[in-house]
Symmetry: C2
Subunit: 253 residues, 2 copies
C-alpha cells in the first residue's frame, strides 16, 4: 500500500482572494483534494481548479458536520491522495479547531504542515484603518470568543487588555456590552463592528459600548466586534462609513 499523503492546514484569510499568502496559493494550485470550511469564499476556491473540492464545514445555525467526522475525512483523504489541503477561514491556529484535527492526523501517523493566514482581526484593523495598538493608548490586545455552552455560562469572558476583539460576536453583542459596563468600561468607549471583512459585502459600523447594549440584530455574515480607545477615529481620518446610532436596524436591513 502506498504511503499516505501530506496534509496542509492552510489559513485562507478573511475572504478576499488576494489576502491568502503566496505559500497558501501555491499549495492550493498543487492540491489533489481541498477540504474547505463554511467560511471559505467561492473566489478562494478558484485558486484550485484542478482539485477535488469538499465542503467540510461547521457553522452555527446551519447544518454542519461534526468535528469527529471532519477528522475522519482528513485521515481518509490522506490515505487516498498525495497533497491534501485543509482550508480554513482566517488563521487555523486561532479559533480554528486545529487542535482536534492535528491530534487525529498525528494519531494516524500522517505528516502535517501549517500555513498561517490573515486572522480576521487584522484584516478588520486594515479595512477600518484602526490600529489595534497605539503608543501611550493601547499596548495589549486580547482576542476572545464567548461560548454559550452551559459549562461556560458563568465564565467571565472579558479579558483585561487595552484593546478587545471578540470573534463571532454578532449574537453575543448585548451580553458582551453588559459585561463590559459591569467591568467599569465607560459607556462612550468606542466600538467598531465589522461584518464580512474584506468581501464585497463588507460593512463597518462605528458606535459605543452604550450603543452595543442595543444588540446587533441577526447579521448574515461573520461579525467581529472591536472595543477600546484605539478604535477612536483620528482627527483627520477619512471615515468612509456613516456613524450609526441605529445599528440593529442597519444590520437587519
Amino acid at each position: 500500500m502506498a504511503s499516505p499523503g501530506k496534509v496542509y492546514l492552510i489559513g485562507a484569510g478573511p475572504g478576499a482572494q488576494d489576502l491568502i499568502t503566496l505559500r497558501g496559493a501555491r499549495l492550493l494550485a498543487q492540491a489533489d483534494v481541498v477540504l474547505y470550511d463554511a467560511l471559505v469564499t467561492p473566489e478562494m476556491l478558484q485558486l484550485c481548479p484542478q482539485a477535488e473540492k469538499v465542503l467540510a464545514g461547521k457553522r452555527s445555525g446551519q447544518r454542519s458536520l461534526a468535528q469527529q467526522i471532519i477528522n475522519e475525512m482528513l485521515v481518509d483523504y490522506a490515505h487516498k491522495a498525495q497533497l491534501v489541503v485543509r482550508l480554513k477561514g482566517g488563521d487555523p491556529m486561532m479559533f480554528g479547531r486545529a487542535d482536534e484535527e492535528l491530534r487525529a492526523l498525528e494519531a494516524a501517523g500522517i505528516d502535517v504542515e501549517i500555513v498561517p493566514g490573515i486572522t480576521t482581526a487584522l484584516a478588520a484593523a486594515a479595512a477600518t484603518r484602526q490600529p489595534l495598538t497605539k503608543r501611550g493608548i493601547a499596548r495589549s490586545v486580547a482576542f476572545f470568543t464567548s461560548s454559550t455552552a452551559p459549562e461556560h455560562s458563568d465564565h467571565d469572558a472579558i479579558p483585561e487588555t487595552d484593546t478587545l476583539v471578540q470573534y463571532m460576536g454578532g449574537r453575543e453583542a448585548i451580553a458582551t456590552a453588559e459585561r463590559l459596563l459591569a467591568h467599569g468600561h465607560a459607556p462612550d468607549k468606542p466600538v467598531v463592528v465589522i461584518e464580512n471583512v474584506s468581501r464585497a459585502d463588507q460593512r463597518i459600523h462605528r458606535m459605543t459600548i452604550a450603543d452595543l447594549t442595543q444588540g446587533l440584530g441577526t447579521p448574515q455574515g461573520p461579525v467581529l466586534v472591536m472595543i477600546g480607545e484605539a478604535m477612536r477615529p483620528r482627527p483627520q481620518q477619512h471615515v468612509d462609513t456613516a456613524i450609526s446610532n441605529t445599528i440593529a436596524a442597519q444590520l437587519r436591513a
Copy 2:
C-alpha cells in the same frame, strides 16, 4: 504640481518570502518606492526589483531613525512618486506604529491603504504546531509587549487570558516570568520561545515558566514568548526541537 501618490502600508509577515499576501506581493512588484523597516528580510525585497528601496527602520539597540523622520520621509516620497509602499515586518496594525504614520499621511492629505500581514504570533503557532486556542483549554489569547519606559515601570503588563504571547520578549524574559509567578501562574506551565520565526535560522525552545526565570540571554533576532496550557505538546506530536533546560546557553551559542 502633480497630485501626490498613494501610500500602501503593507505587512510583510514574519520573514519568509512566501508568507506575504498575494495583494502585498502584487503591490510590491508595482511600487515606485519601498520604505522598509529593519525587520524586513532581504528575500522580501527581491519581490520589488524595480523599486527604489529605502531603509526606514527602528530597531532597539541599533542606530535607527526617529519616528518623526520616518513620517516626513513617507510624506516626501508620496509627493515624488505615484505608488509608495511602507513595508513592515509582521502586521502593520499590531505593534507597528501605524497610528503615527497614518496621522502624518492624513494630515498631509495623502491617500493611504493598508494591506494586512501575517503577525508573528500566528506564524509561530504554525511553525511550532501549537494552536493558540484549544477547546476546553484556551478560549482567549492576549498579545502584549512590555515597555521599559519609566512611565510604564510599575505597569502590570500581564493580561488575564488563557494564552499569552509576548512580542519582543527576549530581553524582558526574567521580568515576565517573575510577574507570571506573582500572578499565580504555575511554575511548570509550558512556554514556547521562538526566535526568527519562518526564517532559515528559526529556533524553537520549549520550557516552563520556571525555566524562563533564568532568562534568554541576548538573542540575535526577534523573539516571541508564548505561555499557557495550549503550549503543551500533544501526546503524539512530533516535537522537532530538543527540549532545553539550558536555554540561556543555547540562545547565546
